[in-house]
Protein backbone atom coordinates (compact mmCIF):
# COMPACT_ATOMS: atom_id res chain seq x y z
CA UNK A 1 0.00 0.00 0.00
CA UNK A 2 1.17 3.53 -0.74
CA UNK A 3 1.67 5.75 2.29
CA UNK A 4 2.32 9.44 2.95
CA UNK A 5 5.19 9.39 5.43
CA UNK A 6 6.26 12.99 5.54
CA UNK A 7 5.31 16.49 4.47
CA UNK A 8 7.60 19.34 3.47
CA UNK A 9 6.64 23.01 3.49
CA UNK A 10 8.61 25.76 1.82
CA UNK A 11 8.41 29.17 0.22
CA UNK A 12 8.94 29.17 -3.56
CA UNK A 13 10.39 32.64 -4.22
CA UNK A 14 11.49 32.91 -7.89
CA UNK A 15 14.63 34.91 -6.96
CA UNK A 16 15.87 31.85 -5.02
CA UNK A 17 15.78 29.84 -8.24
CA UNK A 18 17.53 32.65 -10.10
CA UNK A 19 20.24 32.90 -7.40
CA UNK A 20 20.94 29.17 -7.72
CA UNK A 21 20.84 29.17 -11.53
CA UNK A 22 23.22 32.16 -11.71
CA UNK A 23 25.69 30.62 -9.24
CA UNK A 24 25.04 33.14 -6.45
CA UNK A 25 24.20 30.65 -3.69
CA UNK A 26 27.47 31.39 -1.84
CA UNK A 27 26.86 35.15 -1.73
CA UNK A 28 26.13 36.19 1.90
CA UNK A 29 22.60 37.40 1.08
CA UNK A 30 21.62 34.05 -0.44
CA UNK A 31 23.77 31.78 1.71
CA UNK A 32 21.55 32.65 4.68
CA UNK A 33 18.61 31.22 2.73
CA UNK A 34 20.33 28.11 1.37
CA UNK A 35 21.90 27.26 4.75
CA UNK A 36 18.37 26.66 6.07
CA UNK A 37 18.02 23.80 3.57
CA UNK A 38 21.36 22.02 4.15
CA UNK A 39 19.79 19.66 6.70
CA UNK A 40 16.83 19.05 4.37
CA UNK A 41 19.04 18.02 1.45
CA UNK A 42 20.68 15.35 3.61
CA UNK A 43 17.36 14.27 5.07
CA UNK A 44 15.73 13.73 1.69
CA UNK A 45 18.67 11.67 0.45
CA UNK A 46 17.98 9.28 3.32
CA UNK A 47 14.18 9.33 3.18
CA UNK A 48 14.16 8.51 -0.58
CA UNK A 49 10.58 9.25 -1.62
CA UNK A 50 9.24 7.37 -4.65
CA UNK A 51 6.68 10.07 -5.40
CA UNK A 52 6.19 13.67 -4.29
CA UNK A 53 2.69 15.09 -4.45
CA UNK A 54 3.62 18.74 -4.90
CA UNK A 55 1.07 21.46 -4.11
CA UNK A 56 1.92 24.83 -5.67
CA UNK A 57 0.38 27.63 -7.65
CA UNK A 58 1.01 28.73 -11.19
CA UNK A 59 1.77 32.47 -11.50
CA UNK A 60 0.20 33.38 -14.84
CA UNK A 61 2.51 31.08 -16.76
CA UNK A 62 0.61 27.94 -17.68
CA UNK A 63 -2.82 29.37 -16.84
CA UNK A 64 -3.76 32.76 -18.32
CA UNK A 65 -7.20 34.27 -17.75
CA UNK A 66 -8.63 31.94 -20.41
CA UNK A 67 -8.99 29.19 -17.85
CA UNK A 68 -8.92 29.47 -14.04
CA UNK A 69 -9.21 26.07 -12.37
CA UNK A 70 -9.35 26.09 -8.57
CA UNK A 71 -7.57 22.75 -8.18
CA UNK A 72 -5.71 21.30 -11.18
CA UNK A 73 -4.06 17.89 -10.91
CA UNK A 74 -1.21 16.96 -13.26
CA UNK A 75 -2.09 13.54 -14.63
CA UNK A 76 0.42 13.64 -17.53
CA UNK A 77 3.61 11.65 -18.16
CA UNK A 78 5.87 14.69 -17.82
CA UNK A 79 5.82 18.46 -17.36
CA UNK A 80 8.19 21.00 -18.92
CA UNK A 81 9.36 24.06 -16.97
CA UNK A 82 7.83 27.35 -18.20
CA UNK A 83 9.65 30.29 -19.71
CA UNK A 84 8.26 32.94 -17.37
CA UNK A 85 9.69 35.81 -19.40
CA UNK A 86 13.28 35.64 -18.13
CA UNK A 87 14.09 32.43 -20.06
CA UNK A 88 13.48 28.81 -18.99
CA UNK A 89 15.15 27.72 -15.74
CA UNK A 90 17.92 25.18 -16.46
CA UNK A 91 16.20 22.41 -14.50
CA UNK A 92 15.21 18.87 -15.51
CA UNK A 93 11.82 18.02 -16.97
CA UNK A 94 9.45 16.86 -14.23
CA UNK A 95 8.43 13.20 -14.58
CA UNK A 96 4.88 12.50 -13.42
CA UNK A 97 3.25 9.34 -12.10
CA UNK A 98 0.16 9.11 -14.33
CA UNK A 99 -1.09 5.88 -12.78
CA UNK A 100 -1.09 7.12 -9.18
CA UNK A 101 -2.39 10.52 -10.35
CA UNK A 102 -5.32 8.84 -12.13
CA UNK A 103 -6.04 6.81 -9.01
CA UNK A 104 -5.99 9.97 -6.86
CA UNK A 105 -8.26 11.77 -9.34
CA UNK A 106 -10.74 8.89 -9.25
CA UNK A 107 -10.78 8.73 -5.46
CA UNK A 108 -10.74 12.47 -4.68
CA UNK A 109 -13.44 13.37 -7.22
CA UNK A 110 -15.68 10.64 -5.83
CA UNK A 111 -14.94 12.18 -2.45
CA UNK A 112 -16.65 15.40 -3.70
CA UNK A 113 -13.62 17.49 -4.72
CA UNK A 114 -14.11 18.57 -8.33
CA UNK A 115 -10.54 18.57 -9.62
CA UNK A 116 -9.52 19.73 -13.08
CA UNK A 117 -7.27 17.14 -14.69
CA UNK A 118 -4.29 18.26 -16.79
CA UNK A 119 -2.58 15.83 -19.12
CA UNK A 120 -0.54 18.67 -20.56
CA UNK A 121 0.77 21.61 -18.60
CA UNK A 122 3.96 23.49 -17.94
CA UNK A 123 5.21 24.06 -14.41
CA UNK A 124 6.69 27.32 -13.16
CA UNK A 125 8.93 28.44 -10.28
CA UNK A 126 6.17 27.58 -7.80
CA UNK A 127 6.99 23.92 -8.42
CA UNK A 128 10.63 23.99 -9.54
CA UNK A 129 12.10 26.23 -6.80
CA UNK A 130 11.07 23.85 -3.98
CA UNK A 131 12.63 20.95 -5.94
CA UNK A 132 15.87 22.93 -6.33
CA UNK A 133 15.94 23.80 -2.63
CA UNK A 134 15.53 20.17 -1.59
CA UNK A 135 17.55 18.40 -4.31
CA UNK A 136 20.07 21.01 -5.50
CA UNK A 137 21.03 20.83 -9.16
CA UNK A 138 20.83 17.18 -10.33
CA UNK A 139 20.73 16.01 -13.97
CA UNK A 140 17.34 14.41 -13.30
CA UNK A 141 14.94 14.82 -10.39
CA UNK A 142 15.39 11.67 -8.29
CA UNK A 143 11.69 10.72 -8.07
CA UNK A 144 8.29 11.07 -9.70
CA UNK A 145 6.28 14.22 -9.06
CA UNK A 146 2.52 14.76 -9.19
CA UNK A 147 1.73 18.49 -9.44
CA UNK A 148 -1.39 20.01 -7.93
CA UNK A 149 -1.97 23.63 -8.92
CA UNK A 150 -4.18 25.74 -6.66
CA UNK A 151 -5.66 29.04 -7.77
CA UNK A 152 -4.48 31.68 -5.31
CA UNK A 153 -4.23 34.44 -7.94
CA UNK A 154 -7.83 35.36 -8.74
CA UNK A 155 -10.33 35.67 -5.90
CA UNK A 156 -12.25 33.95 -4.60
CA UNK A 157 -9.50 31.43 -3.88
CA UNK A 158 -10.30 28.24 -1.94
CA UNK A 159 -10.66 28.60 1.82
CA UNK A 160 -8.16 27.20 4.30
CA UNK A 161 -10.83 24.77 5.43
CA UNK A 162 -11.45 23.50 1.89
CA UNK A 163 -7.71 23.03 1.39
CA UNK A 164 -7.33 21.17 4.67
CA UNK A 165 -10.22 18.83 3.83
CA UNK A 166 -8.78 18.23 0.35
CA UNK A 167 -5.56 17.13 2.03
CA UNK A 168 -7.47 14.52 3.99
CA UNK A 169 -9.09 13.24 0.77
CA UNK A 170 -5.65 13.00 -0.85
CA UNK A 171 -4.40 10.89 2.07
CA UNK A 172 -7.35 8.52 1.72
CA UNK A 173 -6.68 8.27 -2.01
CA UNK A 174 -2.96 7.51 -1.61
CA UNK A 175 -3.60 4.92 1.10
CA UNK A 176 -5.98 3.02 -1.17
CA UNK A 177 -3.37 2.61 -3.92
CA UNK A 178 -2.20 -0.99 -4.20
CA UNK A 179 1.51 -0.60 -4.91
CA UNK A 180 3.97 -0.02 -2.05
CA UNK A 181 5.15 3.54 -2.49
CA UNK A 182 6.89 5.99 -0.18
CA UNK A 183 4.97 9.21 -0.84
CA UNK A 184 5.65 12.72 0.41
CA UNK A 185 3.35 15.70 0.12
CA UNK A 186 4.75 19.19 -0.17
CA UNK A 187 2.94 22.47 0.45
CA UNK A 188 4.62 25.53 -1.03
CA UNK A 189 4.37 29.33 -1.27
CA UNK A 190 4.32 32.13 1.30
CA UNK A 191 5.19 33.12 3.90
CA UNK A 192 4.24 36.76 4.43
CA UNK A 193 4.79 38.91 1.34
CA UNK A 194 3.08 41.53 -0.74
CA UNK A 195 4.26 42.21 -4.27
CA UNK A 196 1.86 44.97 -5.23
CA UNK A 197 0.65 48.44 -4.43
CA UNK A 198 1.97 51.04 -1.98
CA UNK A 199 1.94 48.37 0.78
CA UNK A 200 4.41 46.14 -1.16
CA UNK A 201 7.18 44.73 1.02
CA UNK A 202 4.95 43.85 3.97
CA UNK A 203 6.47 41.18 6.23
CA UNK A 204 4.95 39.87 9.47
CA UNK A 205 7.46 37.55 11.13
CA UNK A 206 5.41 37.24 14.31
CA UNK A 207 2.28 36.11 12.46
CA UNK A 208 4.34 33.74 10.29
CA UNK A 209 5.89 32.02 13.29
CA UNK A 210 2.51 31.61 14.93
CA UNK A 211 1.28 30.12 11.65
CA UNK A 212 4.10 27.54 11.84
CA UNK A 213 3.24 26.70 15.45
CA UNK A 214 -0.43 26.28 14.65
CA UNK A 215 0.26 24.27 11.49
CA UNK A 216 2.22 21.79 13.60
CA UNK A 217 -0.05 21.66 16.65
CA UNK A 218 -3.56 22.69 15.69
CA UNK A 219 -4.12 22.67 11.93
CA UNK A 220 -7.88 22.20 12.34
CA UNK A 221 -8.13 25.56 14.09
CA UNK A 222 -5.66 27.21 11.70
CA UNK A 223 -7.83 26.10 8.77
CA UNK A 224 -10.55 28.49 10.00
CA UNK A 225 -8.45 31.62 9.38
CA UNK A 226 -10.27 33.86 6.88
CA UNK A 227 -8.83 35.13 3.58
CA UNK A 228 -8.96 38.68 4.82
CA UNK A 229 -6.78 37.82 7.82
CA UNK A 230 -4.12 36.33 5.54
CA UNK A 231 -4.14 39.47 3.38
CA UNK A 232 -4.24 41.95 6.26
CA UNK A 233 -1.58 40.21 8.36
CA UNK A 234 0.62 38.40 5.85
CA UNK A 235 0.22 40.55 2.72
CA UNK A 236 -1.78 40.02 -0.45
CA UNK A 237 0.49 37.21 -1.66
CA UNK A 238 0.63 35.63 1.82
CA UNK A 239 -2.64 33.96 0.82
CA UNK A 240 -0.46 31.27 -0.80
CA UNK A 241 -0.15 29.78 2.68
CA UNK A 242 -3.56 28.11 2.32
CA UNK A 243 -1.71 25.57 0.18
CA UNK A 244 0.31 24.43 3.21
CA UNK A 245 -2.97 23.25 4.74
CA UNK A 246 -3.45 20.74 1.91
CA UNK A 247 -0.15 19.08 2.80
CA UNK A 248 -0.90 19.23 6.52
CA UNK A 249 -4.37 17.70 5.98
CA UNK A 250 -2.74 14.71 4.29
CA UNK A 251 -0.76 13.81 7.45
CA UNK A 252 -2.09 11.23 9.93
CA UNK A 253 -5.21 12.68 11.52
CA UNK A 254 -5.43 13.54 15.20
CA UNK A 255 -1.70 13.00 15.86
CA UNK A 256 1.00 15.61 16.31
CA UNK A 257 3.73 14.92 13.77
CA UNK A 258 7.45 14.90 14.52
CA UNK A 259 9.03 18.27 13.70
CA UNK A 260 12.12 17.11 11.84
CA UNK A 261 13.23 20.57 10.71
CA UNK A 262 12.11 24.18 11.07
CA UNK A 263 13.60 27.29 9.44
CA UNK A 264 12.54 30.91 9.08
CA UNK A 265 14.40 33.78 7.44
CA UNK A 266 13.73 37.31 6.20
CA UNK A 267 14.20 38.29 3.41
CA UNK A 268 14.50 36.51 0.10
CA UNK A 269 13.75 39.32 -2.32
CA UNK A 270 10.27 40.52 -1.16
CA UNK A 271 9.40 37.51 0.95
CA UNK A 272 9.67 35.84 4.36
CA UNK A 273 11.03 32.32 3.85
CA UNK A 274 9.52 29.53 5.94
CA UNK A 275 10.37 25.84 5.83
CA UNK A 276 9.22 22.79 7.79
CA UNK A 277 9.65 19.05 7.56
CA UNK A 278 7.01 17.06 9.43
CA UNK A 279 7.00 13.28 9.72
CA UNK A 280 4.23 10.95 10.82
CA UNK A 281 5.10 9.22 14.10
CA UNK A 282 4.99 5.46 14.42
CA UNK A 283 2.28 4.29 16.84
Amino acid sequence: MAKINASVYTSHVPAIGAALDLGKSEEPYWKKVFDGYEFSKQWIKESKPDVIFLVYNDHANNFSLELIPTFALGTGESFEPSDEGWGKRPVPTVQGHPDLAAHIAHSVIQDDFDLTLCNKMEVDHGLTVPLSLMFGQPEEWPCKIIPLHVNVVQYPVPSGKRCYELGKAIRRAVESYGEDLNVQIWGTGGMSHQLQGPRAGLINAEWDNKFLDRLINDPEDLSKVSHVEYVREAGSEGIELVMWLIARGAMDEGKTPKVTHRFFHVPASNTAVGHLILENQED
Binding site: H59, A60, S64, L65, R199, I203, E233, S269, N270
Partner: protein, 130 residues
Protein backbone atom coordinates in the same frame (compact mmCIF):
# COMPACT_ATOMS: atom_id res chain seq x y z
CA UNK B 1 -27.48 41.39 -2.60
CA UNK B 2 -23.97 42.60 -3.20
CA UNK B 3 -21.14 40.19 -2.45
CA UNK B 4 -19.14 40.83 0.67
CA UNK B 5 -15.65 42.24 0.05
CA UNK B 6 -14.10 42.65 3.49
CA UNK B 7 -10.66 43.30 1.97
CA UNK B 8 -11.65 46.75 0.71
CA UNK B 9 -10.45 48.40 3.94
CA UNK B 10 -6.82 47.20 3.62
CA UNK B 11 -4.58 50.12 2.63
CA UNK B 12 -2.35 50.12 -0.45
CA UNK B 13 -3.69 46.79 -1.67
CA UNK B 14 -5.82 45.78 -4.65
CA UNK B 15 -7.38 42.36 -4.43
CA UNK B 16 -7.63 40.74 -7.84
CA UNK B 17 -11.19 39.48 -7.67
CA UNK B 18 -13.69 38.58 -10.38
CA UNK B 19 -14.69 42.23 -10.78
CA UNK B 20 -11.07 43.36 -11.32
CA UNK B 21 -10.45 40.38 -13.56
CA UNK B 22 -13.37 41.34 -15.83
CA UNK B 23 -12.06 44.90 -16.09
CA UNK B 24 -8.54 43.75 -16.77
CA UNK B 25 -9.11 40.76 -19.05
CA UNK B 26 -7.58 42.23 -22.21
CA UNK B 27 -4.85 44.09 -20.31
CA UNK B 28 -3.76 40.85 -18.63
CA UNK B 29 -4.02 38.81 -21.82
CA UNK B 30 -1.85 41.43 -23.57
CA UNK B 31 0.73 40.93 -20.79
CA UNK B 32 0.53 37.18 -21.28
CA UNK B 33 1.35 37.62 -24.99
CA UNK B 34 4.77 38.98 -23.93
CA UNK B 35 5.83 35.48 -22.93
CA UNK B 36 6.69 34.94 -26.62
CA UNK B 37 10.05 36.41 -27.68
CA UNK B 38 8.72 37.59 -31.07
CA UNK B 39 5.90 39.49 -29.35
CA UNK B 40 8.33 41.14 -26.95
CA UNK B 41 10.34 42.33 -29.98
CA UNK B 42 7.27 43.71 -31.75
CA UNK B 43 6.10 45.43 -28.54
CA UNK B 44 9.51 47.03 -27.95
CA UNK B 45 9.74 48.20 -31.58
CA UNK B 46 6.42 50.09 -31.41
CA UNK B 47 4.53 49.91 -28.11
CA UNK B 48 1.56 51.96 -29.26
CA UNK B 49 1.01 49.90 -32.42
CA UNK B 50 1.26 46.65 -30.49
CA UNK B 51 -1.17 47.83 -27.80
CA UNK B 52 -3.62 48.98 -30.49
CA UNK B 53 -4.00 45.36 -31.56
CA UNK B 54 -5.71 44.70 -28.21
CA UNK B 55 -9.25 45.76 -27.26
CA UNK B 56 -7.93 47.59 -24.17
CA UNK B 57 -9.16 50.96 -22.93
CA UNK B 58 -7.13 54.07 -23.70
CA UNK B 59 -6.42 54.46 -19.97
CA UNK B 60 -5.01 50.95 -19.80
CA UNK B 61 -2.75 51.56 -22.80
CA UNK B 62 -1.46 54.83 -21.32
CA UNK B 63 -0.81 53.17 -17.96
CA UNK B 64 1.22 50.44 -19.68
CA UNK B 65 3.24 52.92 -21.73
CA UNK B 66 4.07 54.99 -18.65
CA UNK B 67 4.82 51.79 -16.66
CA UNK B 68 2.49 53.00 -13.91
CA UNK B 69 1.87 49.63 -12.26
CA UNK B 70 -0.41 51.03 -9.55
CA UNK B 71 -2.63 52.52 -12.25
CA UNK B 72 -2.50 49.23 -14.20
CA UNK B 73 -3.73 47.39 -11.10
CA UNK B 74 -6.51 49.88 -10.55
CA UNK B 75 -7.61 49.23 -14.14
CA UNK B 76 -7.78 45.47 -13.61
CA UNK B 77 -4.17 44.34 -14.01
CA UNK B 78 -2.78 41.57 -11.85
CA UNK B 79 0.82 41.67 -10.65
CA UNK B 80 1.78 38.25 -12.01
CA UNK B 81 0.55 39.26 -15.46
CA UNK B 82 2.06 42.75 -15.23
CA UNK B 83 5.37 41.09 -14.35
CA UNK B 84 5.65 40.10 -18.03
CA UNK B 85 6.08 43.80 -18.87
CA UNK B 86 8.82 44.01 -16.24
CA UNK B 87 10.50 40.92 -17.68
CA UNK B 88 10.37 42.53 -21.14
CA UNK B 89 12.08 45.60 -19.65
CA UNK B 90 14.65 43.39 -17.87
CA UNK B 91 13.45 44.22 -14.36
CA UNK B 92 13.46 41.91 -11.35
CA UNK B 93 10.37 41.28 -9.24
CA UNK B 94 11.89 43.34 -6.45
CA UNK B 95 12.37 46.31 -8.79
CA UNK B 96 8.75 46.02 -9.92
CA UNK B 97 7.34 45.72 -6.41
CA UNK B 98 9.49 48.61 -5.22
CA UNK B 99 8.31 50.82 -8.09
CA UNK B 100 4.79 50.79 -6.65
CA UNK B 101 5.75 52.08 -3.21
CA UNK B 102 7.09 55.55 -4.00
CA UNK B 103 10.49 54.50 -2.65
CA UNK B 104 13.72 54.36 -4.61
CA UNK B 105 15.06 50.95 -5.55
CA UNK B 106 17.81 51.33 -2.93
CA UNK B 107 15.39 52.42 -0.17
CA UNK B 108 13.09 49.49 -0.90
CA UNK B 109 15.95 46.99 -0.88
CA UNK B 110 17.16 48.43 2.45
CA UNK B 111 13.68 48.14 3.94
CA UNK B 112 13.52 44.47 2.95
CA UNK B 113 16.96 43.78 4.42
CA UNK B 114 15.81 45.31 7.68
CA UNK B 115 12.86 42.94 7.91
CA UNK B 116 10.35 44.48 5.51
CA UNK B 117 7.40 46.81 5.94
CA UNK B 118 5.82 46.42 9.37
CA UNK B 119 2.14 45.55 9.56
CA UNK B 120 1.81 48.15 12.35
CA UNK B 121 -0.34 50.99 11.06
CA UNK B 122 -0.80 49.18 7.72
CA UNK B 123 -3.71 46.92 8.50
CA UNK B 124 -6.70 49.24 8.08
CA UNK B 125 -7.41 52.31 5.98
CA UNK B 126 -8.55 54.26 9.05
CA UNK B 127 -5.10 53.80 10.64
CA UNK B 128 -3.56 55.70 7.74
CA UNK B 129 -5.79 58.77 7.79
CA UNK B 130 -4.55 59.71 11.25
Amino acid sequence: MALEKPYKDIPGTTIFDSEQSRKGYHLNQFCMSLMKAENRERFKADERAYLDEWPMTEDQKLAVMSRDLNRCMELGGNIYFLAKIGATDGLSFQQMAGSMTGMTEEEYREMMLKGGRSPEGNRYLHEQSK
